[in-house]
Amino acid sequence: MIEILDTKDIRAVRNKNTILDHYDLMINKRKAEEGTRNFRSGYVQHNPLMGDGRDALVRFFSKITQERVRSRIVVHRIIAAGDYVWAHANFLNFFTDDPKDTGVAGVDIFKMDAEGKAIEHWDTLQWAGNPKNSAPMIGLNIPRANLNGMFENKT
């Protein structure tokens, strides 16, 4: 994981740590209640599948992590400045138990308040696919036009 922030900016460091802790607890450790302790009850949700509020977030992820034993998140890079934390992540085995699942590539955008609690969230998500079926949102079996993968660092 690459962390992109000014390490002297204590607000950004705190907020980044809060979001990494959130992912690890809510998804990888399957403790959604504990993992959302730094989320406001009135959290505004822009992901179209979830209702507003911390409780809706807990319900959504509790269901998935209980149903899908392999479900997990890998954070590849994270940037934080001011009240915002943005993370580029791979959500794996959320919708299938196939060990070869390449999952969903997403960027989450969190807005935090002055106390470091999450108050609003946006995201963009796409199927990661694979080199022979690289853009399933557009069509089947579109080969990848480069050798670089969705997350790797090449420079």
């Binding site: 822009h46 940037i79 400045a81 963009t124 949102m137 579109i142």
Partner: protein, 152 residues
Amino acid sequence: MIEILDTNDSRAVRNKNNILELYELMINTKKSEEGTAKHVRPGYIQHNPLIPDGSVALGQFFGRITRERARARVVVHKVIAVGDYVWAHVNFLNLFNDEPGDTGIAGVDIYKMDAEGKAVEHWDTLQFVGEPKNSAPMLGPNIPRANPNGMF
């Protein structure tokens, strides 16, 4: 548009301005090849699965779309810049159709810049925006939106 950066960080300010100008040239003013030649290194590493490596391939990709689609445009909603990175939350509109009511694609672009402020690597995540009655076309048709907040 919300700009998220330390305005005392001259590198971040420059990089952010370069990416905003890249969008404007490459898409909104339909000067794709000019924009990519100005702000993107020839050896640009591309992670978007539909586009090959390099600044020339990027200019050609958007050159073709912006010539074919008269309404093609991008609206940048938020941009964050720190160090060598610029990330932008954007809405690509009318890249694949000419419908005035198109809701387009929601994306986050991640650019890594070099010391001179040119883009050297790019990742993105993209999804169709849909609309409140068909809010998650990547998962299935006609899934209603669970909140009243929109994508941006």
